[in-house]
Amino acid sequence: MAKLMVVEDSAAMRSLIASIVGDIDGVEVVEVGNGFDALKRLPRDHADVIILDINMPGINGLELLSFVRKNPVFANTRVLMVTTEGSAEDRRRAMALGADAYLIKPFEPKELLTTVQQLLSQGGK
């Protein structure tokens, strides 16, 4: 069973994303509402794919991403950044830090599905 973690502070957005990717066969979706909770849960719930918002209070997406990338334990974890059209610069930085893919809001559910499926098939499991 593959595990997806959705890290997003907007509850409506989070449950929307979770309900879209929850349709993929054989995945379990973990939802977290901020970077702090993600940090707490990551060591326990080893996620195969993290779907990560950039703008969050507390610990933002880039900080979380750098944590994941610096930690060899998460070498096989794929990170999908969810950004907006305006944040081109931060998106560029995320890719430089080692994000695997990004989506720009608003996206079609289909885009999200195919991207996540692709990342899952690349996963080193």
Binding site: S10, M13, S15, N71, P106
Partner: protein, 701 residues
């Protein structure tokens, strides 16, 4: 799964929350901008909210909201990156955005469009674009040339954090890295403490988590902060030697010494803030431009927005003036007693009366400003009610009366959730299916009525329906099943007592869960909320005919008339709106029925509660002559036994200090004229305690 369209309740709830947040921040920003400068955290918080709103509205297909939020976001992004001026003109446009959002979200919620951007939206968008166009262009200097920070730190900064770092540098502030480690389980608590300490002396720029190899279960952080304090001062502010503070060195910083003990001397400038150090001439003097802009702009608006907390402060001042007035009164009557009615005494008396009248006017004036009609709230409730009935397949007409009734704005804001819950209950539990209704000889269409009326110092808001009424048998059955009353006791309950069972925590007669009901946050939560507003709530219902829930609220929370009493040599205040009458308590008047003390007040039996027991002041005996204060909340009454009645007085309730917060039966503190602080009794809470204790003893029996 297709793309969701339109405003789901979840979307609406979150969007509304975001818009409220924007509004709060804008109000604060307005004050801050008048006082000098809007702090970066404020602008960032505004940005984040606009950003979230854009994100969700785009996903949920509300193009108009998303379009406007997008433009707003880019203006705010410019502001937080120092590219766009944050001045009154800009704040004004941002306020217009918030207003538009309110309209659009309401329309979407009611299913009345709001999808397409209309003219009004485009107008605001045009103004946003103008604001964005007035930005001051800055050529940012590469951070790597300015400061000694490792590349793997710099590369993690968002564009905004990078700007904050640069801004702190140009303002001549010192940068430090705080290094610390926490247990994985509670690092957020530790971080929040550091955040709190730093906020007082500067700003947290970024927090980088890293896990120390070999130490699973712990999480290390590098926190970069900017401040004008010295290293020693930062250490002192944090007060935790496990946090290692290290200064970040600057590169070729000409004037400021590396992590110097004092901030770089600032050139005096017209604004309250230091002029940015123009290291190499790249920094544009934004504050001066802003001042010119403001001077050229004369306000045309005739209304002002005021943070309600400012009114609270004024109101408190008025309360304190009231105390001063009483001190004068005392002095004046002392003089009269000592010197008789001299001319001076008469004069003093007259001026005092004048003062009193003006003060009353002032108080009424401030009160008036705080008051808002219930119109908006009612409109919102009607919209929500319509939507619920559509979704639950009921035919319901929602009627309102008395929406012009006014209440303190703070109370109105807190009323939305409870009212929504009551309307939801009426539609969900009360109104029957159309077919059932016509069989029962009722109109197919059910009626839910929302009404408000002023009653002296109170406002009564009612939600009633012409539905099936509360099912008494079912209610009793559930209460017994859940152990809320015993089988025997259940037989004896009056109708009113039965309805009161509905307010007990966890009570819900619904078995299956519908979207709107059965989620376990029931009437008990509604009751708690209303009690917090010093209000009372009551249910009345007739089987087959309908249900009425009445909420009685004080019109304002700030100043209240109170009865001052003594119990065991201590002084307390009892809010007068809870007091029905007072009487001397003769020994023979007290009877004991079922091991409870009661007295008879004009034919009805009222239970007695000695405040001495409530507040555990048992050391001193009840004096031979004492008094009963008959307190009422809704229909329930209790006689509070006190030793002495001191008199009546307006008091300003203040929040309690940490030590007393949470003491049951105490609503707050108030100051009497002679510098004496007294406790204000929370009658509603005493009632709650009483009925709970009653429940408990009955369970034991």
């Amino acid at each position: 799964m297709g793309k969701p369209t339109g405003a789901t309740p979840e979307f609406v709830a979150e969007a509304q929350e975001i818009v409220d947040g924007l509004n709060r921040d804008l109000i604060a920003a307005e004050t801050e901008s008048r006082a000098g400068e809007v702090p970066p955290q404020r602008i960032n918080s505004l940005f984040r909210n606009a950003h979230s709103l854009k994100g969700i509205s785009g996903m949920f297909g509300l193009d108009a909201v998303s379009h406007l939020a997008h433009e707003m976001e880019s203006v705010l992004d410019g502001m937080r990156l120092g590219k766009v001026l944050t001045d009154p003109t800009a704040l004004d446009v941002l306020f217009s955005c918030v207003e538009r959002f309110g309209v659009l979200i309401a329309a979407a919620e009611a299913g009345e469009g709001g999808q397409e951007a209309d003219e009004a939206v485009e107008q605001v968008v045009d103004r946003l674009k103008q604001v964005a166009g007035r930005g001051s262009a800055q050529r940012p200097m590469g951070l790597r040339d300015m400061v000694e920070l490792a590349d793997d730190v710099l590369s993690v900064l968002t564009e905004y954090e990078e700007h904050r770092l640069r801004d702190n540098l140009t303002r001549g502030r010192n940068l430090y890295v705080l290094r610390t480690a926490f247990e994985l389980s509670n690092f957020d608590v530790g971080l929040a403490e550091i955040d709190g300490a730093i906020q007082k002396i500067g700003e947290v720029i970024t927090k980088l988590p890293s896990s120390k190899p070999g130490e699973p279960g712990t999480l290390a952080f590098d926190i970069i902060i900017g401040t004008d304090r010295s290293e020693a001062e930062v250490n002192a502010a944090i007060g935790d030697e496990r946090v290692k503070v290290a200064a970040v060195a600057r590169r070729n910083a000409p004037k400021t010494a590396v992590a110097s003990a004092s901030p770089a001397p600032a050139t005096p400038s017209s604004s309250a803030h230091e002029e940015p150090l123009a290291d190499d001439g790249v920094v544009h003097d934004v504050t001066k431009d802003a001042a010119d802009e403001v001077a050229a702009l004369k306000s045309v608006s005739r209304t002002v927005r005021v943070d309600i907390r400012r009114l609270d402060r004024l109101m408190n001042l008025v309360g304190e003036l009231g105390l001063t007035k009483m001190a004068f009164e005392r002095l004046s009557s002392d003089i009269r007693r000592q010197q008789g009615f001299t001319e001076l005494a008469a004069e003093l008396h007259k001026e005092n009366r004048n003062f009193e009248r003006r003060l009353a006017e002032l108080q009424a004036g401030i009160m008036e400003v705080r008051m808002v009609p219930l119109t908006n709230l009612f409109e919102r409730m009607v919209r929500i009610g319509r939507k619920m009935s559509r979704e639950l397949g009921r035919e319901v007409r929602i009627e309102t009366t008395g929406e012009n009734t006014e209440l303190d704005k703070l109370i109105v804001e807190d009323l939305a959730d409870p009212l929504m819950h009551l309307i939801r209950n009426s539609i969900d539990h009360g109104i029957e299916d159309p077919d059932v209704r016509s069989k029962a000889g009722k109109d197919r269409e059910g009626v839910v009525r929302l009404s408000a009326a002023a009653r002296g110092n109170h406002v009564v808001v009612e939600v009633s329906d012409d539905g099936r009424g509360v099912d008494i048998d079912k209610t009793l059955k559930v209460a017994v099943e859940r152990g809320l009353v015993t089988q025997e006791r259940a037989q004896e309950l009056t109708r009113r007592e039965i309805f009161n069972l509905l307010f007990l925590p966890g009570f819900s007669t619904r078995v299956e869960v519908s979207e709107y009901s059965g989620r376990g946050v029931g009437l008990d939560v509604v009751k708690t909320k209303i009690s917090q507003l010093s209000g009372a709530i009551e249910v009345d219902s007739a089987e087959g005919r309908g249900t009425r829930v009445g909420v009685t609220l004080p019109i304002t929370l700030a100043i209240i008339p109170a009865l001052i009493v003594m119990v065991a040599r201590r002084t307390y205040a009892i809010p007068l709106n809870n007091v029905q009458e007072t009487l001397a308590l003769e020994k023979g008047a007290v009877k004991t029925i079922e091991r409870r003390e009661v007295i008879s007040v004009r034919g009805t039996t009222v239970p007695l509660t000695d405040l001495r027991n409530v507040f555990a002041l048992g050391q001193l005996e009840r004096p031979p002559v004492c008094y009963a204060v008959i307190a009422g909340v809704g229909q329930s009454r209790v006689a509070l036994v006190v030793d002495e009645l001191v008199g009546q007085q307006d008091i300003v309730i203040k929040a309690l200090g940490r030590r007393l917060r949470g003491v049951p039966g105490i609503a707050g503190a108030a100051e009497l004229g002679n510098q004496q602080t007294i406790l204000v009794i929370d009658v509603v809470q005493i009632f709650n305690e009483l009925s709970q204790n009653q429940g408990r003893t009955e369970e034991v029996v």
